[in-house]
């Protein structure tokens, strides 16, 4: 099993989620995060003086997937989260030793 962590733009979350479930991926976990990278944040004003806000709000989408559907998931996210502008985000892939469904105790791929 693999764990896919995608950092994407907030307003893309809805699309990515729909695309994934359309592809039969019915579980994921979302986290609000702040990103720092090439995309350079913005300036805000405070009583006539400006200051830079370097962190950009993003969302992290975590999906545990069986190895065979990894590529499908990556492609789907790529396609739906892309705008071509700097700041589209990243996808990180890592190994999962095991997954357990708390409700049933099932483990491994059927727990996903």
């Amino acid at each position: 099993m693999k764990k896919v962590e995608a950092i994407v733009r907030i307003f893309k979350l809805e699309d990515v989620k729909n695309a994934l479930s359309a592809k039969g991926i019915h579980g994921m976990t979302i986290t609000d995060v702040k990103g720092f990278g090439r995309q350079k944040g913005h300036t805000e004003m405070y009583r006539g003086t400006e200051y830079k806000v370097e962190f950009v709000p993003k969302v992290k989408i975590e999906v545990a997937v069986p190895d065979e559907s990894l590529q499908l998931v990556l492609d789907t996210i790529m396609r739906t989260a892309q705008t071509g502008q700097i700041g589209d985000g990243k996808i990180f892939v890592s190994d999962l030793n095991n997954t357990i469904r708390i409700r049933t105790g099932e483990t491994g791929e059927q727990a996903i």
Binding site: Y46, R47, E50, K52
Partner: protein, 474 residues
């Protein structure tokens, strides 16, 4: 640095003023301040009779002015600090509502409005004697104020000013001051800064327009309808001294300290605007034409201030901000305060514009030039705005609104000579506020300490001073 010099100057000036005063005390008591414009004739033996319309408006105004401190100022200031300090600021405002009220009832009102000695009030009204109702020759007797309102109404209305004035200073040392020290500071500040100045200007003292005292020491005295000197200069200048003596917040200048909740700040500003009608129009102490005129002047100046500040940002930074509009409105309200009962609507617009311009640059250029950390710009808005307002009152005050000079003109604009008295009052207020605040803080610094521990400042005042968190959203 610059702060130090300024204070030195202040102290000397004060010393001098002090001496003259002693000499002066030899003089015999000046007679009472002229009663407000609309005193109603009343049989000498029973004093003015109750005017229910005036009393209705004054009770309403008193409620409005309390609302200015909380939720008004508490939300305005609370929104501007970082999340970890929001309760710290709100607590200071709220606690002061309790603290200053008790002081006012016990001795504050008497020191401010008792008798008409030149420098300070007397003991006539201690513990509300002579203010509260009494059982007198077989019936309840209600001491009345000349405008046909019970003295209790006058006392409580003025008491609301005694709450918000110190609360304004809170903006200067927000996010770092020890709560215990703040409490002691405010007791002393209220007693030794507010009460004398209130007496000078409103209690028939050395600056009360047209009184013997003023002729004696105050070059004829000044007009301060609702507190340009008593409230805004006194708190704003003291705020500057606080900011200089307590020092900058950790990380000030290096890391951004953005307002954590601008929606609160905007709501607070709107509540201040609404409450200010009680503050200014209420200062007519009657529901008459002067009150209506003051109400309009207040509204127009706030409007002009909001447009001016936001407009300047729009031109200079290419974006008008909510904080800018809110700050401008407050600046306009501060600036019109001393003038509100003396000027017509169009000059009120001018005062609003002036407030927007001067306070904008005070909060940006001036502050960064000197580098002090007046956290929420208490000096930039109230000190500067109050000063501009006090002086422009000397320019635009007109007999067309109130004839206070036997038919002769008042402000410079209509050919009067009021301005010099306004200048004297402004300087005297700056000096008293700066000097006494400086002394009080120095003493407290050596005894209790002004500032929370570094660890506590990092963790925030909410948890370390009050054991609470503002928001628990999990």
């Amino acid at each position: 640095m610059s702060g130090k010099r300024l204070l030195a100057a202040a102290v000397c000036a004060w010393a001098i003023l002090g001496l003259t005063s002693h000499a002066a005390r030899a003089q015999d008591e000046p007679k009472p301040a002229a009663a407000p414009a609309d005193v109603e004739a009343a049989p000498a033996d029973e004093g003015p009779k109750l005017d229910r319309g005036n009393n209705a408006w004054m009770l309403t105004s008193s409620a409005l002015v309390l609302m200015m401190t909380a939720p008004g100022l508490a939300m305005f200031y609370g929104g501007l600090v970082r999340k970890k300090n929001v309760l710290g600021v709100i607590m200071q405002c709220f606690f002061l509502m309790g603290l200053m009220t008790v002081i006012w009832g016990l001795w504050g009102y008497s020191l401010s409005f008792g008798g008409t000695k030149p420098w300070i009030g007397n003991a006539d009204y201690l513990f509300m004697n002579g203010v509260q109702s009494e059982w007198k020759d077989g019936a309840p007797y209600v001491p009345m104020y000349p405008t046909g309102i019970p003295m209790l109404t006058h006392m409580v209305f003025q008491g609301m000013f005694f709450i918000i004035t110190p609360a304004l200073i809170v903006g200067a040392f927000a996010e770092r001051m020890k709560f215990s020290t703040m409490v002691v500071f405010m007791i002393l500040w209220g007693t030794f800064v507010y009460c004398p100045i209130a007496h000078w200007v409103w209690g028939g003292g050395i600056l009360a327009y047209g009184t013997e005292n003023a002729k004696e020491y105050g070059m004829g005295g000044a007009l301060d309808f609702a507190g340009g000197t008593v409230v805004h200069i006194s708190s704003g200048v003291s705020a500057l001294v606080c900011a200089l003596l307590i020092g900058k917040r950790l990380g000030y200048g290096t890391e951004p300290m953005p307002p954590h909740n601008l929606t609160y700040t905007a709501v607070g500003a709107a509540l201040l605007w609404v409450g200010w009608f009680g503050f200014n129009a209420g200062s007519a102490l009657a529901a008459d034409g002067v009150a209506a005129s003051a109400f309009v002047a207040t509204h127009f100046s706030a409007a002009a201030g909001a447009l001016t500040w936001a407009g300047l940002e729009w031109v200079i930074r290419r974006k008008p901000t909510v904080l800018g509009a809110a700050s401008g409105a407050v600046a306009g309200l501060v600036c019109i305060t001393p003038a509100s009962g003396y000027v017509t609507p169009m000059p009120a617009l001018i005062l609003g514009v002036a407030a927007g311009v001067f306070c904008y640059f005070a909060c940006t250029s001036l502050k960064s030039a000197f580098g002090y950390d007046d956290s929420l710009d208490a000096f930039g808005v109230h000190g500067i705005g109050g000063t501009v307002g006090a002086l422009l009152t000397g320019v635009f005050a007109t007999r067309a609104v109130q004839d206070l000079n036997g038919g002769d003109p008042l402000g410079l604009y209509e050919g009067g000579t009021l301005l010099k008295g306004q200048i004297v009052a402004t300087i005297a207020t700056w000096i008293l506020a700066a000097a006494v605040t400086f002394v009080i803080l120095k003493v407290l610094d050596l005894t209790m300490g002004l500032r929370v521990a570094t660890q506590d400042e990092l963790q925030g005042l909410d948890l370390t001073q009050h054991g609470e968190e503002g928001y628990i959203f999990m």
